[in-house]
């Protein structure tokens, strides 16, 4: 007699009790158990040592005293209000974009909107706390506006971000000799402000240049292709530090005698030219991932090659490399720390300068941990935003 199995049972759903979970994940066999015990010991010792140091051992006055220096360098104190406006703009656009594009993530939303509020509760001077309250209001205002009118405002948000970098530069630098809005020369910029400006401009400029280089490297024009290959490979063969050094010594050499390029501009130039080569390689990877049929189909419906690139190929190519682009943006942000080699006082440079103050000799662990925390938080934020973008427009995103 044959028994016909007409019903395929689903695989059993794995369910564990707490003890079962412990057994599976911590004490599967004696080796695993040993590792667990060792890890508990290590975590306990490291955690205790760290907590003791942070609470009792560390002397955080060095950070408290120099916080402003670390954040904005020697930017004139009378002009700080401009930076607050820039920060407020950033808060407003962040809130707006968050309200328009990101809706589900409640925890992260609370953090974005609540961040300025948390800052307002920290023991800063009263005007600073007031400024944070204002930024908090702007951010949450933007958030609710974006949530209310996503259709009408998403164009505004896009335009806002595009105009953001030039706007901030005008704000920070100032124009003309007017006493109410004087120019702040770049040698006064510093700290996190300088780091963000170099990273922001560098990344914003290297992206289009990189895309052009990548397209050039795959183009049918042999001379242009050769130029792009030589440029990309030459730049990629040397470390960033040499490009920075040489920008410092060679740009003056290549310029007419009467032209003097600002040190910060030179650093940004070197940084941009360097990252563009790496960006180009990333984009090239994306371009290669687009199947040939897409090119042919685009040609078949009568698109010119520039149209097919802009409308068919690039969108798919860029979508497929979002994680890599995020990683290279983070890499670029971390690499800005190298400008300290040129004597610029970016976040790391100011940190080193602070350590040279006689009052705070030997406080290097405190300062470097603080700097590491700042860099880490910003990198983490960038990678979080990258993940969100990947989820929404990446290759695996669910189309609605």
């Amino acid at each position: 007699m044959n028994r016909v199995v007409d019903e395929v049972l689903p695989p059993p759903i794995e369910r564990y009790s707490v003890l079962g979970w412990l057994k599976k994940n911590l004490f599967q066999n004696w080796l695993s158990a040993l590792a667990t015990l060792l890890m508990i010991y290590l975590f306990f010792m490291a955690g205790r040592a760290m907590l003791t140091w942070v609470v009792i051992g560390a002397q955080w006055e060095v950070i408290a005293t120099n916080l402003q220096l670390l954040m904005i360098g020697q930017y004139p104190r009378s002009e700080v209000w401009r930076l607050w406006i820039a920060l407020g703009l950033m808060g407003f656009f962040s809130g707006l974009s968050w309200g328009i594009w990101i809706r589900q993530r409640l925890g992260a939303t609370l953090l974005v909107v609540g961040m300025p509020v948390i800052m307002a509760f920290l023991p800063f001077a009263p005007p600073v706390r007031l400024a944070w309250v204002a930024i908090g209001l702007l951010t949450s205002g933007g958030f609710f506006l974006g949530r209310r009118y996503p259709q009408r405002l998403h164009r505004l948000a896009t335009m806002g971000w595009l105009a953001f970098v030039p706007l901030v530069i005008v704000l920070v630098r100032g124009v003309g000799e007017d006493a109410r809005f004087p120019t702040v020369t770049t040698n006064l910029w510093g700290g996190l402000l300088l780091t963000s400006i170099i990273a922001g401009i560098g990344i914003a400029l290297s992206f289009p240049i990189g895309v052009l280089l990548a397209i050039g490297r795959r183009s049918g024009y042999p001379i242009i292709r050769a130029f792009c290959v030589v440029y990309i490979e030459l730049i990629r063969s040397v470390p960033l530090i040499t490009v920075l050094f040489m920008a410092q010594t060679m740009i003056p050499l290549f310029m007419p005698a009467n032209v003097d390029i600002d040190r910060v501009v030179r650093a940004i130039l070197a940084f941009t030219l360097f990252s563009a080569a790496y960006m180009a390689e990333n984009v090239r990877g994306g371009l290669q991932s687009v199947p040939k049929g897409q090119y042919e189909a685009a040609a078949a419906v009568g698109l010119r090659s520039s149209q097919s690139m802009r409308l068919i190929i690039l969108p798919q190519a860029l979508r497929s490399i979002i994680p890599i682009l995020t990683a290279s943006v983070i890499g670029g942000f971390r690499d800005t720390s190298l400008v300290l080699i040129l004597g610029l006082l970016d976040l790391l440079g100011i940190g080193k300068a602070v350590l040279a103050q006689p009052a705070f000799l030997g406080r290097h662990i405190e300062v470097y941990s603080f700097l590491a925390a700042v860099y880490w938080l910003i990198s983490y934020a960038i990678s979080y935003i990258g993940q969100i973008i990947e989820e929404r427009v990446g290759v695996d995103a669910k189309r609605t």
């Binding site: 590792a35 030459l234 005698a257 590491a372 983490y380």
Partner: protein
């Protein structure tokens, strides 16, 4: 038939110059000509400016200055070098320092990275999280910060020479750097080295014979060969009338150690920083490689009766290596380039030496060319080695 609805194909004569200009091939040539013209024009302007500024400084392009006396000391060197040596000698010392620092860092960061990467795929929750924490922390901090901080910790927080930390060897770690014993040759050294060569041949032959008798996996065969070689080498060491090597152990004299090999704090700092900063990327590569092997493969191997070792050796390892090796090459390349950050903590590697020469002679253009040549050569060598290695480990597909 209605002829008027059919448009006549344009004859050759009807083609106007504007349509000729829109021909794709013509556009292609014109665009490229324009591009070359613009490039040449910019190049000419830049060259003109450079020639002017060089003339003002009384310099002319050329590499003759490499044979001039450098006139500066190099603080850390593993070959003799004096102030009166030429610039070329100084560059050599710099290259050796770069290669040494990168090679040691590559080895150490691979060991640490593989360890953390394997921990990252562990089924033990705590081990897994510890590896994750390590990767997440060090991947998001600038490498330069890690290097500067490690150097500062070595100089300010390690004990001084009197209370140096004693490591195996005996080696000494203090705020003056790391001192390890140095092997010194004796009269029997040459004999011993010849014997070793003979033993190597013997071991390979013996391993071949053993393997041909029984069906053994090549890895086990290699292990057997290595075992035979080690035993022979040990026996020879004690049979010879005098030990072939003696150790020159660092000894404390006055304020510092003498003897042995010394690695100054700058060197230890850059190696430490590079290892901490690069191993997360190695670990992530290893993790990705191990996870790229589908779970079903492992289950299938178990179903066929393979034990843990055989599964690892024959199923997971070959497939994971295919994913791991190519990104490893670029990890190593970027580590080599990142070793240039050592110039910030005044470790005289090639970029540091080069910038000293540049500031002394004003030869910025020439030194840039030299740096490009050096780093390209290093990259090329690394890539060649990794390609060779990749060919060794990659799966032969039928």
């Amino acid at each position: 038939m209605n002829d008027t609805s059919v448009t006549k194909p344009p004859g050759r004569g009807a083609r106007r110059w504007s349509s000729w200009l829109l021909d794709e091939r013509v556009i292609q040539i014109l665009v490229q000509l324009l591009f070359v013209a613009v490039l040449l024009w910019i190049g000419y302007l830049l060259y003109q400016n450079m020639a002017n500024s060089l003339a003002k400084q009384g310099l002319r392009l050329g590499f003759g200055f490499l044979n001039q006396v450098a006139g500066f000391d190099i603080s850390i060197k593993f070959l003799p070098h004096a102030r009166s040596d030429t610039n070329l000698n100084a560059i050599q010392i710099g290259i050796i320092n770069t290669i040494l620092a990168s090679a040691i860092s590559i080895v150490l960061s691979t060991v640490l990275g593989v360890l953390v990467g394997v921990m990252r795929v562990s089924s033990n929750y705590l081990v897994n999280r510890a590896a994750w924490l390590y990767i997440e922390i060090f991947r998001n901090i600038p490498l330069l910060l890690v290097i500067i901080a490690s150097y500062a910790v070595i100089v300010y927080n390690l004990p001084n020479v009197n209370d140096a930390i004693v490591l195996a060897g005996p080696s000494y770690l203090s705020n003056r750097g790391l001192y390890i014993p140095r092997p010194v040759s004796t009269p029997t050294t040459t004999t011993y080295l010849i014997l070793l060569a003979v033993f190597l041949v013997v071991a390979v032959l013996l391993a071949r014979i053993v393997m041909s008798r029984r069906v053994l996996d090549s890895f086990i065969g290699t292990l057997i060969g290595m075992g035979i070689f080690l035993v022979l080498a040990l026996v020879a060491w004690f049979v010879l009338p005098q030990a072939p090597f003696v150790l020159d152990i660092p000894e404390k004299t006055g304020l510092n150690y003498t003897g042995g090999i010394s690695f100054p704090p700058e060197f230890v700092g850059i190696v430490f920083g590079l290892v901490l900063g690069s191993s997360p990327f190695t670990a992530d590569t290893v993790r990705a490689g191990l996870q790229s092997v589908p779970k079903e493969q492992i289950q299938a191997a178990h179903a066929l009766g393979f034990g843990g070792y055989l599964t690892m050796r024959l199923v997971i390892f070959p497939q994971a290596m295919r994913v791991i090796v190519p990104p490893m090459t670029s990890n190593y390349l970027s580590l080599t380039k990142n070793s240039s950050l050592a110039s910030v903590i005044a470790f005289p590697e090639i970029v540091h030496v080069t910038s000293t020469i540049t500031s002394q002679t004003g030869r910025a253009v020439e030194m840039m060319v030299i740096l490009m040549v050096i780093y390209s050569t290093l990259s090329l060598l690394t890539s060649l080695f990794m390609n060779w290695f990749n060919n060794r480990v990659k799966i032969v597909e039928r």
